[in-house]
Symmetry: C2
Subunit: 262 residues, 2 copies
DNA sequence: CAATCGTTTTCATAATATGAAAAAAGAACC
DNA sequence: GGTTCTTTTTTCATATTATGAAAACGATTG
């Protein structure tokens, strides 16, 4: 049992409880939650009661617990860039309608991308990513573009840190292979994910920039690999460019400018 | 300063902090947050650090605070009925596309409706409700349907409890007026909101039922009052019926059955 | 180079959250 | 319908935990 140095006990426990509730399919009973989190029943009870008072959890008629509306409320205000999600959504829906495949919007967070918005395909069989879920940079189209954008050195650094965990047989194995893919992708302005994160799933991604030219997000289509078409590339890029444009980005910033931080 | 009996101090404080962050337009500094919440800076700092560790908040490059991805993650799992939101969304989008006006999905929570999903009109001028926000039952189309559904007695009870706060000059003032509106609406199966919540905004709403015949949510279109058309009623009802159908509801349950609780 | 402002760490202290145990409230089982 | 389970809730003494004052640090500004 490790102990993070600075951390308020109750907060760490409350987080465990919320996760435990989220993990349950239906409502969760105190019994289950205290077992799941390893907390003493009366402790769990008290924390849950407090969470309920603040609206973080709710009690069902049976006295069970579920996540509360407050979380929805706060969750929808996440990302100072609430604005760019709003701007992107209609264009994501348009792209989704053109291709009839799921379109995702992701942002970078450390060495991962996080799914922040999506437009689901209206089909029975479709790719579906949970909002808030994560994936390492090197197994997604958008992530590889971001790596390419950062330049070779940063890319090597990432490879070293992450050890390039292998998600499928197609996941880039060597630094060389990754570098080559990322650089080429960044140069082209779009990237593929050929079943590198999950077998059977293929993506096409492009980057989104704000008025200062900074990359702030990535747009991608995800489809069962056998349905994916190369022709989509143009549409994905059009969509991402349109979003960037609406965010104030002017393409005039040179063809491709490798960043320089500090 | 009132003191709720059972409540863990840290949790109440953490809630205040999260609210304070959410209230800020951009990132918030420690200074601002501790001022806003009345917490001692070092206390606020420690709580925020813990929240950051769990991913509830994030720190910007400048060291400021913003809401974290974890909230998005949890927020998207709210409502055991995550499923019905998913089912409703495509049909909401379809309706939105037909009318080119904002479509909202709401659930009842106590004496209020909470906005849980939406499909925004793709127009410059549109009605826009924040997900997670609330409104009292008697000032919304869906809320009035829910009141009507519960029967006269429950409706009077609501009026007594809530005192029918007046949002605009059009808000139902008397119990009699409310009752008449709710009963008639429930009988018809749809309701209007004629600038009763906000001047200039008009809605048309209908209810959504699950397999057991229970009302689980409401669907509504919101538009600037001068754009709203009576003809939309049929489309709104079609959409809500289709959602109910997909949730397993069979209309065969009599024309209108006033519930019996207990 | 000071000086000011905001953030972070340290630390002794008291208040706070804790868990054991007892009490209530429901279920389940004759 | 009564009895015995289980599960939830309350109570309470205790020690652990979060607290806020103050000091250290760091950045920004004059």
């Amino acid at each position: 049992m490790k102990k993070e140095p600075n951390s308020i006990q109750v907060i760490e426990r409350l987080a465990r409880l919320l996760d435990a509730i989220a993990a349950q399919k239906e409502d969760a009973s105190l019994k289950v939650l205290s077992a799941e989190t390893g907390l003493h029943p009366s402790t769990a009870f008290r924390i849950l009661a407090s969470l309920a008072e603040e609206g973080f959890v709710e009690r069902t008629s049976r006295g069970n617990y579920r996540l509360g509306m407050k979380l929805m409320q706060l969750g929808n205000r996440v990302g100072a860039g609430t604005d760019f999600r709003k701007i992107a959504l209609p264009l994501m829906e348009k792209l989704r309608d053109q291709l009839d495949e799921t379109v995702n919007l992701t942002v970078r967070e450390g060495d991962e991308v996080v799914y922040v918005e999506r437009s689901l395909a209206k089909r029975m069989i479709r790719v579906e990513q949970v909002i808030g879920s994560r994936a390492p940079l090197h197994v997604t189209a958008v992530g590889k573009l971001m790596l390419g954008e950062m330049g070779e050195e940063a890319c090597r650094g990432y490879a070293k840190r992450s050890k390039l965990p292998q998600y499928t047989v197609n996941t880039r194995k060597t630094v060389a292979a990754l570098l080559q893919d990322c650089t080429a992708s960044a140069k082209r302005g779009y990237a593929y994910d050929d079943q590198e994160a999950e077998m059977g799933v293929g993506c096409i991604g492009a980057l989104i920039r704000d008025a200062s030219g900074q990359v702030i997000a990535g747009l991608s289509v995800s489809a069962p690999i056998e349905r994916r078409r190369d022709e989509w590339t143009a549409l994905v890029m059009q969509a991402s460019e349109e979003i960037s444009r609406q965010l104030g980005y002017h393409a005039s910033f040179s063809t491709h400018h490798h960043k320089g931080n500090t």
